[in-house]
């Protein structure tokens, strides 16, 4: 089953065409690593998938359902965009943890705000908040940071901050935790669909099912990771990989 399908995605900032027609699809459970030179459009692609940027052209399908069509985008309300965003979790390069909240509060904040919209929130407030707290504890222990639950981001190392950011992104879909962690640790996983932007070619080689090489706003090469990394067909991919091996 196709989990994610991206069709002819285009995005430009002023006169700069950052994405010039990106097409790809991912099966459920596949892990995709995106590699490529800086400024090639990797991050913009991820940002488009999270609707942090609005694509100028193209469609995004999730689980066989069209969730975005540039031609109809103006019809989407803010609430619909918010709902679409929740189909994706995103861990930022800079983590972007909220500095005034502890590790645990970073995880629970969005859950609590969403719980408030539940019709039974007023009646079952205590139970719901207790559940959220338990979930946050579970997430923290899975990323190995339960004892840092009450620490503020500035007290955590970069790696610890990243793990909190991962836990936070997963908080809205906790079943995925184990799978994502396997990926982060460099183990293969099977169930969750993931996109990783990375500069570590070996990481991509071992963890990803597919590798995408993006350069100058287009997919220069896309295929099974071993094939793309060990036997690149595109000249630019070859040049890029050579540079990394040296």
């Amino acid at each position: 089953m196709k989990m994610l399908e991206v069709k002819n995605l285009k995005k430009s900032f002023g006169a700069v065409d950052v994405l010039r027609g990106v097409d790809f699809s991912l099966e459920k459970g596949e892990v995709l690593a995106i590699i490529g030179p800086s400024g090639g459009g990797k991050t913009t692609l991820l940002r488009c998938l999270n609707f942090l940027e609005t694509p100028d052209e193209g469609e995004i399908w999730v689980g066989g359902q069209k969730i975005f069509d540039a031609a109809e985008h103006s019809d989407l309300s803010e609430a619909e965009i918010r709902a679409n965003r929740l189909r994706f979790g995103l861990v930022f390069q800079q983590f972007n943890l909220f500095p005034q909240y502890t590790a645990k509060q970073n995880i629970t904040l969005a859950m609590q705000l969403q719980a408030k919209e539940r019709p039974d929130y007023k009646a079952d407030r205590r139970v719901i908040l207790e559940e959220i707290d338990q979930q946050a504890n579970a997430l923290l222990s899975r990323v190995g940071l339960l004892e840092k639950a009450d620490n503020y981001p500035h007290m955590l190392s970069g790696g610890q901050q990243q793990r909190v950011a991962i836990a936070r992104a997963l908080a809205l879909d906790p079943e995925l935790t184990g799978e994502v962690l396997k990926v982060i640790r460099g183990l293969k996983s099977s169930d969750s669909t993931m996109i990783v932007v990375t500069h570590e070619i070996q990481f991509a080689r071992h963890v990803a099912d597919k590798v995408m090489f993006i350069d100058e706003g287009v997919i220069a090469e896309y295929g099974p990771s071993a094939e793309v990394i060990e036997n690149p067909k595109n000249e630019r991919t070859r040049a890029f990989l050579n540079k990394f091996e040296k």
Binding site: N50, R82, R85, Y152, L172
Partner: protein, 216 residues
Amino acid sequence: MSLFLSVTGRLLEGFGLTCWIFLITLVCSIPLGLIITFGSMSKFKPLRWLMRTFVWIIRGTPLLLQVIIVFYGPGLMFGMNGVGRMPAVLVAFIINYSAYFSEIFRGGIESIPKGQYEAGQVLGMTKRQIFFKVVLLQVVKRIVTPMGNEIITLVKDTSLARIIAVKEIIMVAQEYISAKALIWPLFYSGAFYLVFCGVLTILLNFAERKLSYFKV
């Protein structure tokens, strides 16, 4: 000795008025400043223009002049009955300080990294939630120091009220010069400001310490 006590009493009366001008200006100009901030950051260009022009005019002219204009202006221009002295002072001060505050707020809000907004967005938060739950406290932390500066300046700016004969502490002290040829009450009035600003400094330091549990 009795002269010292009576001067102290008179100065205290004036100082009471000083405190009122200070307090009311502070309490009213913070929310008004925030509204001006939102206007000057609005995506709607005419509003943004209007607010930035307003700030330019208010910051570009002396507060002294603004007090005079608010007090005499309505009568001279429209033949209206003038406003009272104290209300005129308050209106001028509130407008003036809200313009300054609005720029401090704007700087604070714009200094928050875009990533903080985006992190809220990908977590499905609304704009409102992002502002109140994520951004606001970080802004407060960033502006405590410049706000402290402005608030302490306000304490001393209240002395401008004497230009339209509002009897704040400096005006009371000055009357001793003309009426009794005594200059020391004027020097003495400085001690009142000094103590007041000392207390404010302690409060501001307390606020800074309270917010030191996180880093932005």
